[in-house]
Symmetry: C2
Subunit: 300 residues, 2 copies
């Protein structure tokens, strides 16, 4: 089976797109009419999350390099939310779009294997999650990542490990100085090394890094140190990251980054109702415009 | 409402117990008869996890300082597993035992709030999780912890942040040298400081640390630096930690530690079937003997 790194590389070339659409649904997704009916039930909310995902998938199937689904938004709703998460992953996979479960899990051997079984669809055929890639935390070290390697090697799965996150407090731990450089630089080095066994012919590995768009200097430093590391870059748009911020971190072919926008996409979806235009069309325009902004910034 | 830290302190004194029973159910929980029926369905497994939890709760209701539930074991089974997780938390709370969701989550502001809503039962009344405390990862910094503080302050909730985990690869990141000391020492300092606003009259805070029993020297060093920090100590028993290893880290009153055994309890549960004795009795004996071992080691 094709390595996840190679699948991404090929899709990136075919679509000329580095756009990752982030699904971070919030309770305000319900249309204003439903909200006026009173406090929405958890079930109604969960249903609206699935409808949202279906619209987004229709809108960006040939624009998005990948879709990232934030499991916290679904876990917030308890069981009905998790059911919506399962349906959402299915709807994305049905259209052949690589789906990244933004789960940021991390636990020791046996528990790590539990998450692996759950999120890479190894145990539960019915009612199981099945992402193409997931985000993981590196804080517990390699033996918590190792159980996932076999799935990367043989089942076309991918991992993105947190290196430098997009939030202000990222600096609390990630900027602590280790050997004269920030901790995140050490973590990036570990991630690149851990990914060695699942490196494809493009030079890229199926184990990548997460680096926030809100820290362009750090992003560029990590790229320079690691020329062939897939970097998932959240924080584009609403969180403050711009195309000009991230563009220097593309490789010579304009690949190597998965730039993720969540709130921008969500905003376009909400806005369409007010404007009275179809959500699918409005979201599609937003995604195309993000794709073009990134392309232009890279060419400059 | 009583602070979580105070509730723990009071229960520790009343029961003279620092035993935390870890529920990490595995597929081998099904009785041998069920296993012989062929490959167990996910649903059957999930049902056996709930039955296991009910037996454990009956066995240790007046022995366990708390029960820790490892969500990864449930997430491994997809939706039926999550349903079992919800039922398990309910069964534990119904007996008044503090329940710690071992979820090791960590995400930026908005997503952190999603996990908070889910795991502290704020959103989903039906089908929601509702733990008394959860484990969180500190890698993303304080703004990912902050949303949880209000629940600690006003709803009697608690947090345990990963400081030094029990696995061999813990050293990959946690032992990197920062300012002449290992990273975990910096993290312990941050955790103790973050917990300041939810410190109770015992001196302990509702924000504690996770430090593996498998690293007694590190555990003791952390205790010396932080005399009033609740420390959740996994890795007791099967992973190698002994009563003698952890005892030096008790405070002068024999409090301050939540010592967690998972595989030992699981083994006792399985063993009872072979021995032909009631599981509840056999598990109870194992928990009592662990409680006494800890007490004796502390008094020595």
């Amino acid at each position: 089976m094709q390595l996840f790194a190679e699948r991404l590389h090929q899709r990136c070339r075919e679509l000329r797109s580095s756009v990752v659409v982030g699904l971070d649904p919030k309770p305000n997704l319900l249309s204003s009419r439903q909200e006026h009916d009173g406090k929405a039930s958890t079930r109604a909310l969960a249903r609206s999350y699935v409808a949202f995902a279906r619209d987004i998938v229709d809108a960006v199937a040939d624009v998005a390099l990948a879709i990232k689904v934030q499991v916290a938004c679904y876990e917030a709703l308890g069981l009905p939310g998790i059911r919506a998460y399962v349906e959402t992953l299915r709807a994305i996979k049905a259209r052949g779009i690589p789906v990244i479960g933004d789960i940021k899990r991390g636990d020791i051997g046996i528990s790590s294997a539990g998450y692996l079984d759950g999120h890479f669809g190894r145990t539960a055929k019915a009612g199981g999650y099945d992402a193409d890639a997931v985000t993981l935390s590196p804080y517990l070290g390699f033996d918590t990542i190792e159980p996932w390697m076999e799935a990367c090697r043989t089942n076309g799965k991918g991992l993105f490990l947190l290196v430098r996150t997009s939030n202000p407090s990222a600096r609390d731990l990630q900027d602590l100085i280790v050997d004269g450089a920030p901790l995140y630089a050490s973590v990036a080095r570990l991630v690149d090394r851990w990914g060695e066994p699942v490196r494809g012919s493009s030079g890229y590995s199926s184990i990548g890094a997460v680096v926030g768009a809100t820290y362009p200097a750090e992003l560029l430093a990590i790229r320079r140190a690691h020329p062939t590391l897939w970097i998932l870059v959240p924080g584009y748009g609403a969180q403050g990251g711009t195309a000009a911020d991230v563009a220097p971190a593309f490789d010579a072919d304009g690949a190597g980054l998965l730039v993720s926008s969540s709130r921008g996409i969500l905003a376009a979806y909400r806005e369409s109702e007010k404007l009275g235009v179809p959500a699918v069309e409005h979201v599609r325009r937003a995604a195309l415009s993000m794709r073009d902004d990134l392309l232009h910034a890279w060419r400059r």
